[in-house]
Amino acid sequence: MIKAAGLTIWLAVAIGSTGQPVVGQPVGIVVESATMAAGQPMPRDHSPDGRNESPPLAWRGLPAGTRQLAVICEDHGAGNPPPWVHWIIYNIPPGASGLPQGIPFDPADPMPRGLERARQGNNGWGLAMYRGPAPPPGTVHEYEFTVLALDTELDLPAGLTRAELLEAIEGHVIGRGNLVATYARMPAAAGIQ
């Protein structure tokens, strides 16, 4: 069950590192999750305190003319320079209404049905997979899951960096929405053996 509606942000500026305006006005997409709520801590199973699986995402309100989707998860309070990228996935078909939990991290494993052509880009560790939040102990960070609707169908290879993806999709972003969740480390109890 969807727990909470995501934040919808209307921006005339893309998230690209170039800061260049996106052509046209992106249409707001509602981004939701069965395990995460906007502004709330995400479960530890989406972090290295747990199974470190990518969270399930769902979206609606895609603009007419959407031909492909991409998703980026990043922490704007980390990285030098920010943001620190936790996950990039693209080549998502427009018929997909979301992503299931636990997208495979090993390229040898098949992608879920309907997402066979989706590919994952390189995160901040240089790994083409999801790796969840691991902020310094005692701090709370925010993690933005951004869904981008594109007006073109691309066949991008795995392993693109955030900058490479944004360059590839520049001028093709016609919709955008996000969900921002938080996380703080949950250290093991001293009794863990």
Binding site: N52, L127, A188
Partner: protein, 244 residues
């Protein structure tokens, strides 16, 4: 939240873990195999071919680690360079025995880091994935190791001394050495590592025909330790003299 960045972004894109390790292993062997093709000016001694030892995964009791520690390290080494359709992996190459011996000799200063790191790895596995590391499915073992490799396991409070990436890098490096190094040092049993990366082997001379065959990937591996040649001495009996 920037932490240790211990991975090679370019190398990993689109590659499986094993692909990555094999690429790295090829470079490692070139560094570890002494003089190899560059020693053509030396006077060749009569090389003694080494027997190909049977592939075996069982290491038996180790000298420097407990049975529990051995089980954890064995599982980790097995995931770093697994046995698969391309051939045997690090366990079959004797990397575990190599590490154990190194902890008595050249790497004796690392023994405490091994014990602490293996304990922290197992605690982290139990905390984050709900089972001992050696008991996890291989996909979960890989996920755990990625968290250890990136340093993300550090903040889980399971006892890593400094960044978990330091422990991962230490074990990875020793596993590579025990798989792709010269058999003289106790690993690379049966030249498994060199065969895995198609290293043609130590040679003191290379004929034009051998060079042509090498470039055509037709050259049979030499299957000899550098120390089977008289020019190289370590003070330790050559593998062929140790009844390997």
């Amino acid at each position: 939240m920037k932490r240790d960045q211990t991975v090679d972004p370019a190398a990993h894109a689109g590659l499986s873990r094993r692909d990555l390790l094999k690429v790295a292993g090829a470079a490692g062997a070139a560094a570890l195999a002494p003089t190899a093709l560059t020693a053509s000016a030396a006077q060749p001694a009569a090389p003694v071919p080494l027997p190909v030892v049977p592939v075996a995964r069982a290491a038996g009791p180790l000298m420097n680690l407990t049975a529990a520690e051995t089980e954890i390290l064995s599982a980790m080494v097995d995931r770093l360079i697994p046995s698969d359709e391309l051939g045997p992996g690090a366990l079959e190459a004797g990397a575990l025995r190599f590490i154990d011996r190194a902890l008595s000799e050249a790497e004796s200063q690392s023994a405490d880091a091994y014990r602490a790191g293996l304990a922290a790895l197992d605690r982290y596995s139990r905390y984050s994935r709900g089972a001992a590391f050696a008991e996890l499915p291989v996909r979960d073992q890989d996920s755990v190791l990625i968290d250890v490799q990136t340093g993300a396991a550090t903040g889980a409070g399971t006892g890593f001394d400094g960044s978990s990436a330091g422990f991962f890098n230490m074990v990875r490096d020793h596993t590579w050495q025990g798989t792709f190094g010269d058999p003289q040092y106790g690993g690379n049993a049966g030249f498994i590592g060199w065969d895995l990366i198609r290293y043609p082997g130590v040679r003191l001379r290379v004929t034009d025909e051998e060079q042509r065959m090498l470039e055509a990937e037709e050259l049979e591996p030499a299957r000899r330790s550098a120390y089977d040649f008289g020019q190289f001495q370590t003070g330790r009996p050559a593998p062929s003299e140790r009844g390997r």
